[in-house]
């Protein structure tokens, strides 16, 4: 474990460096646009995994917090009279906090149930919020809302969103990593494995589950805020989108549920592919077929996700390597013993 730490730190450093220079190298607005969407989904998948991946409670309603973040940023920007430009990005953390506040009552209700019932309640919440957004006057009903559009040059327009998303992503991943190695994370894993026993060992399961739920809603709210500002318009059916829920869950499943890197890898591959196909073919629904196919392939071939399977492969390769060394040494030792024996016989 300790000897692998530098290798892992190096990987992280390389990833952050690529994240930093990507728009400088690939400055084509089509590419950077795909990159912004991909980063937003990496944030969402990583944050979702912080609750669902670690606790085993599969939530399919986190679009609620994405949508709340999107609407919160737009409403605040419009009503507080924020000028279009960098200033609105200051509302991104506020959007996250509002999403977190909404997650308290919704989480309290949903977490009264377990497993399948929990899943159904989270889905129900998503539709309640979608319906509410299309029927309230202050959300603009079904015609949605428009945040101010900044007057940045077309060439560098996406870069602003890219770097803000990148910062949010780095913070989210850092939080995910922190939680995973923390005592709190261990409590979440104990709930995933056996909630009843965790209670019997003094884990305050209600508190642990709710705080993880709220914690995962905050980055998703921030991602929703950036998404709304980036698109320049939001509609109820896109802000509170059942496909959003399925997508982030799939990304986490494919990459590796409960790992830090898995959801990032899943989102990186799936979201960039989806955006690429949308741009290339204009057929925006083709990705659903690809999602289905990929999901089947992963479930059949790598049921625990890509990252855990790779880790296992590496571990096996390492032990086999050392086992081969040992076998060779033994063989050599045996040979020399044979030589000695032969010499003695002679």
């Amino acid at each position: 474990m300790t000897e692998r730490l530098p290798a892992r730190a190096l990987l992280v450093a390389i990833a952050v460096a690529i994240l930093g220079v990507f728009p400088l190298v690939f400055s084509n607005p089509t590419t950077t646009s795909i990159a912004v969407f991909t980063l937003i989904f990496m944030v969402a998948a990583s944050a979702w995994n912080m609750f669902s991946g670690y606790s085993g409670y599969i939530a399919l309603g986190h679009a609620v917090y994405f949508g709340v973040g999107a609407y919160a940023l737009t409403l605040l920007a419009n009503h507080l009279g924020f000028a279009a430009g960098w200033g609105i990005f200051a509302l991104v953390p506020v959007a996250g906090i509002i999403a977190g506040l909404v997650a308290v009552p919704t989480g309290l209700i949903a977490l009264r149930a377990r497993r399948h019932t929990f899943v159904v309640i989270t889905i129900a919440f998503m539709f309640i919020f979608q319906l509410a957004a299309s029927n309230f006057a202050f959300t603009g009903g079904s015609s949605g809302l428009q945040p101010p559009t900044p007057l940045w040059s077309a060439v560098a327009y996406n870069d602003h969103f890219y770097y803000v998303s990148a910062i949010v992503l780095v913070a989210t991943v850092a939080l995910s990593w922190l939680v995973r190695r923390s005592r709190f994370g261990l409590q979440l894993f104990s709930i995933r494995d056996d909630e009843e026993r965790a209670r019997g060992l003094g884990v305050r399961v209600a508190r642990v589950k709710l705080s993880a739920f709220v914690l995962s809603a905050v980055p998703i709210g921030m991602a929703g805020g950036i998404y709304a500002y980036f698109l320049g318009q939001i509609f109820p059916q896109f802000a509170f989108d059942p496909l959003f829920d399925l997508s982030i869950a799939l990304m986490a499943f494919i990459g590796g549920l409960g790992t830090v890197a898995g959801p990032l890898l899943g989102a990186l591959v799936l979201e960039s592919l989806q955006q690429y196909f949308t741009v290339q073919s204009g057929a925006s629904q083709v990705y659903l077929i690809i999602y289905g196919g990929l999901f089947l392939a992963v479930v059949l071939l790598l049921p625990r996700g890509v990252i855990p399977s790779i880790e296992e492969l590496v571990a096996r390769w390492r032990t086999r390597g050392s086992a081969e060394d040992r076998a060779r040494e033994e063989e050599e030792a045996g040979e020399s013993a044979d030589v000695v024996k032969a010499a003695g016989a002679r």
């Binding site: 261990l186 056996d194 060992l201």
Partner: protein, 252 residues
Amino acid sequence: MSALVEAERVSKAFGGLQALSECSLSVPKGSIAGLIGPNGSGKTTLFNVMTGYERCNAGEIRFDGVPVTGATPERVFDLGVGRTFQITRLFFRMTVLENILVATQRHEGWLRSVARRAGSTAERARALEMLEFVGLAGLAGSPAGTLSYGQRKLLELASLLVADPAVLLLDEPTAGVNPGLIEQLTERIRELNRAGKTFLVVEHNMEFVMGLCHEVTVLHQGRTLVTGPPEQVRSDPAVLDAYLGGGDDDDF
């Protein structure tokens, strides 16, 4: 000796089934008490009521004189009552060491629990000590799911011990465990008892109960039939009757 754990006239019904009716039990501080009875006599239900997993309909549970009736399992554990399950429950996808670390971190605020790494050096040392005690130190890094049945029982015990509970409620600790490990388990329980721990053991293995317990309580159809030293209980006609299926309502 004062009673450390007491159940007084506890009743519990599941629909029309009266699992416990005015059942009383008292475990003196520092003793090893046994709880036996035929299948379906309410032993596990009594355990569940005592540890907060079920709520009783009537009666009172006291721990060290403090009423804990209706408390949550988390609170019961905090008061110093640890339990194991009839069908061993572990955190199967975590390592053996991580399994033990879960119970070491009960008294802390939420923010602290996020900021601090799971298992401080002292806690890891203590966890390893517990593993050493039950003879699983060599398996600290293995996933708990790979342990044998007997090893799982030992791990379950160790993961309670790390929190230093005053009393341990063991639900069928020897079921499905090979004789060698049973001996080891008996030895560990005796050793812990000498160090001051109180035990209440549900068991079907009579040899184990009679050899280990200072006092045995027999449950039958949700009622306390007899309480007394093992030799006395073993030869009590009412107990023999209950086990051999005799009684007034017998059709034979």
